[in-house]
Amino acid sequence: MIVYVIRRLMQAGLVMIVMSALVFAGIYLIGDPVAMMISPDASELEREAVRRTLGLDLPMWRQYLVFMNDALHGNFGKSFLAGQPAMGLIFERFPATLELAFASLALSLAIGLPMGVYAGLRPNTPGSKAIMTGSILGFSLPNFWVGLMLIMVFAVLLPDLIPWWPRLPASGRGATVDVLGVKLSFLTADGLLHLLLPAITLSLYKGALIVRLARATAREVLPTDYVKFARAKGLSESRIVGVHVLKNIMIPIATVSGLEFGQTVAFAVVTETIFSWPGVGKLLIDSILLIDRPVVVAYLVIIVFFFVALNLVVDLLYSVLDPRVRLESRGS
């Protein structure tokens, strides 16, 4: 077990070094950040001065060594544009992304689970068929387009047509509350309203996934002996479904939710861009478009770490939930 964890962490370290070198070299090749930063009519002398202060006059491998040395000391350089430490910039914005991701996770579970269980219990009713067709739509509709359409309907069309219809906000986080130095939106009414449309957009895909998974597992569990036994004992239907069936559905749902949580954080890049949600995803896109190298590399290091940690936790949890899974054999 310990050997397994150590091996996984070493592998993660290797991936981080390789990826950071690739991105460093790649971004080095494509553009001159100085050209993006200072006005086009600055003299060559001024450009040279800016290059020197940022350390961009050194050869590439020297720049990478300086970067690695700093990175090992926890310093990922300063953003070329904001002038703040890149790591600080990312950590400052991470709570917003996590808040959005958790809200959409909660939403997709709250809607997807009951629908999926219902479709599994009564597979032939029109309602179930509608749910399953709807889940294909959830998979197929381009997510960012759905976000735009939600803005169109709830922030433009409906409030224009119906006078009493509330105009839902389509950008930003709204009012926030400081909790232990972290800004949170969902504690204020205004913040909740701002959270609504982005969270719905982000939850669609995962909601559809949970519907399908819950339905498949429910259909697998229903014909088993212990459900038949519970029926024979004369337990009420609500207790059979609510306790015995649901418990077994939760294992795959928990695994997939955990694994998909990383996907949600990654996909938040798109949702944040649409709704101008001030999270890390928006920061990444802005930094890529403006060639802000320190921020992109720092984001990459954090996200690789985040994913490795997430996968490790899911693997470890899985071995706890299901004793048949042996980590050692998968690790070798």
Binding site: S140, F144, L148, M149, V269, I274
Partner: protein
């Protein structure tokens, strides 16, 4: 009844496996509907230059006074009707969508075919060779699959820059690992079958056993994965173009068109991003519906 030819079962035409697949497929109305959508999208993509009312890339043919006309407006010179409206540069949306579909489907299918080819080679070689090579290749696949496709593509494009060729490279790099894993697991099953043993006894070269004998038996499951990956590839390209790191402005795919309409959305010009999205959804839904049923039809448990 001794005459066998009078037996209605024997008189029916011999059912080849392929025919049964086709008839199984057409039994499901939803799947046929999906296929119709796919054929429609492919038709529009293939014949875009001939069926479009206007050439959206010809800047000279655009009349700026017609910019942002709602659907159904007749053009300023009275020559044509903008059935789906025009965008901010007074391009006819219907023509732009036809051409956009061409780019979206082209990028999607080329990237999937290339990724499939790479994945097949890697997966089959890993399965046949086994041992250290297998472990090494699958470790790379594991690492690739542990990161979300959108993120890897985004980082790759931030390095590569813009352009259709760059998008293709990024899409191939994020997709080959799915096929490699699927091909390997399919080949591992085939590897222990008797026909492979027989081929080995005949001392056929390894490449011949792998690609001539094992590969055709692995194809059904790979084709199913390819259809679903195609839908994902088209959606991914649209997303990347929407974020501004995908195709260039001069070659707008459907995602790019939606992105262009974003700025006009809040002022009520909904059609600029609405219709390209509908076109994109039609293509993706069609592929998913058809692919979903194809999986049931090609399921080895159904193949007798």
């Amino acid at each position: 009844m001794t005459d066998a030819t009078l037996d209605p079962v024997a008189a029916a035409p011999a059912q080849t496996p392929f025919r049964r697949l086709v008839s199984d497929f057409f039994e499901n109305r939803l799947a046929v509907f999906g296929l119709v959508l796919v054929v429609l999208s492919a038709f529009v993509a293939l014949f875009a230059p001939w069926i479009s009312p206007q050439n959206p890339f010809d800047i000279g043919g655009l009349d700026l006074l017609d910019a942002k006309s709602p659907p159904g407006t007749v053009s300023g010179d009275g020559k044509m009707t903008y059935w789906l409206g025009t965008d901010g540069q007074s391009r006819d949306m219907m023509s732009a969508i036809f051409y956009g579909m061409r780019i979206s489907l082209m990028v999607g299918s080329v990237s999937v075919i290339a990724a499939l080819a790479i994945g097949i080679v890697v997966g089959l070689v890993a399965a046949y060779a086994g041992g250290r090579l297998d472990a090494f290749l699958m470790r790379i696949v594991d690492i690739m699959l542990s990161f979300p496709a959108i993120l890897v593509a985004l980082i790759l494009l931030s390095i590569l820059g813009k352009g259709i060729d760059k998008v293709l490279i990024a899409l191939i790099l994020v997709q080959w690992a799915y096929f490699a894993r699927a091909a390997r697991s399919a080949a591992l099953v085939e590897r222990n079958k008797e026909y492979v043993e027989a081929a080995t006894c005949l001392a056929l070269p390894a490449w011949r056993i792998v690609f001539r004998h094992m590969l055709p038996n692995c194809m059904p499951s790979l084709i199913v994965i390819a259809t679903i990956t195609l839908a994902r590839a088209i959606a991914l390209e649209a997303t990347l173009s929407f974020l501004g790191v995908g195709v260039p402005v001069t070659q707008p795919s459907l995602g790019m068109l939606i992105s262009n309409g974003f700025e006009f959305l809040l002022s009520g010009s909904y059609w600029i991003s609405f219709f390209p999205g509908v076109a994109l959804a039609i293509a993706i839904i069609g592929i998913n519906l058809a692919g979903d049923h194809l999986r049931d039809v090609l399921n080895p448990r159904n193949l007798r």
